[in-house]
Amino acid sequence: MPSNRKITPSTLSIKDLPWQILWDKDRCTLCGQCTAVCPVQAIEPAVFRKRIVNTKLNTEAEITDEHTVYYGIRQKTDPAYGCVGCATCQMVCPNDAIIPIRGDEADKLRFHINRGGQPRRRGGRRNNPESLLDRIKFIRISMLTDPALDAGRHEFELRTLLGRVLPPEENLSFLRENGWIPPVREIYPLMIGGMSFGALSPNMWEGLQLGIAYLNEELNMPVRICTGEGGCPPRLLRSRFLKYVILQIASGYFGWDEIIHALPDMKADPCAIEIKYGQGAKPGDGGLLMWHKVNQLIAAIRGVPQGINLPSPPTHQTQYSIEESVAKMIQSMYMATGFRVPVYPKISATSTAMAVLNNLTRNPYAAGLAIDGEDGGTGAAYNVSMNHMGHPIASNIRDAYLTLVAVGKQNEIPLFAGGGIGKTGNLAANAAALIMLGASGVQIGKYVMQAAAGCVGSESDRCNICNLGLCPKGITSQDPRLYRRLDVDDVAQRVVDLFLSFDTELKKIVAPLGRSTTLPIGMSDAIGIDDHHAADRLQIHYVV
């Protein structure tokens, strides 16, 4: 750039970007695959001018000055094309000639990514790699006074209940008198949380469903998956596999026309219905499927026109109070499914969660409460919502459990925790910690995308372009050129792998605690943390 060229406020250098592309001219074959594959067109083929000055030791010899060109890769500095660090270029490069490297200081791109007054929107998760759950240790190890169990050989029954469980006295009396007893499902405590058909690609969705079906039918693991807010493919609605599926209804009601019409043809009841009132990644904000992803198939399943943004409102617009929002809606959903299907709300973790929970304790139909913490992920949201809004899951789930204990309903309303479980890879440890804090089970989303499909997203702002439908792995794209990269059967295999390994790790945690007959829900004497304030807040042991 000439030194006198005009610059704009948003003129950035490569150094200002979060990711710098390192390209090795010697190894590059100029095949062009990296530039073709880059989801954000951060790199382009370029012609570089080069001058070679040949001087000799013999001062009388002529100095030659040669001007040449060579071809290579140039990184764009326009904020709209900033490299997202997905490293797909590196993955496709036959000679490993290219790799994105994170800058050594905070980028300047973040100040310019709101051009046109549009704040940054992205997919992914909160950009904070810390995890309180990772700091919780399991400290009550059975030693001699009671034998530790053999995780490999002992009999374990690590299931949980989803549904409104009546108090024993009431249940037994209803049983005698043929009264109505709410439906209760016995399920595996690790569930795949709501990720919609639309947010996920068809191949990803099918792979997850296939994996879940295999776990249930072949391995006798009652794992459940939630649809998220995007409806459910008609064939699945009319198949026996629906019983492994939790249908989600959210404020956009997308896909529910199709679901309601399928009710008479259903061969099996769905596992449950989740009413989504909030999401940990963007609490107090509605769902969002950006127009890039609303193709013919998605539009058909959701019952909307093609190619438009699909923002769900932050609340259910037809309802204005908790009584209406929760009580009536829960009851309506029960009625629609013949009172055979548990219906429960899902909310964002919030300091007001106890008000919701207290209301549910008085609602005899509420089948549970799912709470999604600030570390939850999403396909699309405003960056500010993801990074700054929300409540940590640990203290919210603990408060909720202790609230239930105070009113004696800890067995009646199961709590499900979500958001940041396994964010650093410690899935079983995080899940067990939450269970011992009081959760009946946990929901995971991002972990599945990472473990079952190779999502490259991270808590340090890598990739995160799920919202644009440009997912380089084909996980969150609706473009067949992208999602055909993902093999359905391979995803299913990985889903099975992850659940089997989780199961072994969970046993490796509970067996030394002497637990095998039931899931150790609320076994708070078994856990400790090295932070006094956190220990006080969670009412667990302080250990150093």
Partner: protein, 376 residues
Amino acid sequence: MCRLFAVTSETPISPMVAINALDIMQEGHDGSGVGLFLRDLGGPFEEIKDAPILSGIFTESGLKRLDMYMMELGFMTKYKISIKIPKTAPPGVPKRDIYLVRAYEYPEEWESLSQETLYDRLLDIRLALRRMGEEKEDMIVFSFWPDVIMIKEIGDPMQVAEYLNLDRKELKARVIMAQGRQNTNYAINLYACHPFFLQGFATMTNGENTAFIPIKEYLLSRRFSGYTGYQSDSEVFTHILHYTMKKLELGIEAYKHVITPLNDEDLGHHPDRGFLGHLKNTCRRLIIDGPNCVIGCLTDHSIFMVQDRKKLRPGVVGGRPGMFAFSSEICGLDAAIPDRDKARDFQPMHLDTVVIGPDRREIDLCRQTEKLPLLH
């Protein structure tokens, strides 16, 4: 590990039978304490079966406070055992003022009360006394119930028994439960000492209850005043028994289905799977996670033994018509009932509940996979 011994006999016997059995099994406990539960009493108590008996340990001032309290309520002493203790206590046994076993006459105005109300009031009085005692550290109350005596003390069982002169003719019972304590995770506190008692139900346990905290939280949240204490993780077994039989109105054969329900596969084959499935779901927070051997006594004077699903704790059953016993070890049985057919001794396994009824004619073995008797 603790050592347990329970005996039921058609003729009243001395608690020394059980103490001897514990002494024989002394390699299995550290002599840090002993707990005794006597029921279906003989001797002078035979004539006053309905009179509630207060058992506990008092200081001189505590006894005065007790007398004032009971007099205000209108209770009159009907009969008492005076335990005169030697001047020097054996090593490890604390010096106490009074070991109290005192039968009362109900206040006159209580005569018209239903048994249910009466029993609730007895519980209230015991809990009130316990609170009073904890406040000034001058009373420890074990039970206040008709036809039941409880004695607990720190120290070696045999030495304590000799010290208290338990081998006396006025102290005889048809049902005796005894525990030799192994002091492990809790400081020595007599309220942490087995057997535990609540409204006619008593249990003692061998082993650690790893699910203690969630169970305790669940019982506390039942809002029943008797579900309190929990100085020991084993106290919940008594309270779950009470909950099963009094609150849920189920029989003893259901107790094991509450504390260690069948796994889903076995449950699927059970003739009562519908009922048991509901029981398992609704009582899920009462599932113990052993290893535990629970021995207990019911209001009809039956005694029972239950093993948890892991079956990692010892427990043997033996005897002859008229006298049966449960013991942690066979040598304990040998000491108490030498004239039995030893070939018929057996060790209940992970699905078994053993009950010996008040007629003491036979051992009733209830396997968890069997059909339940008709529900009442």
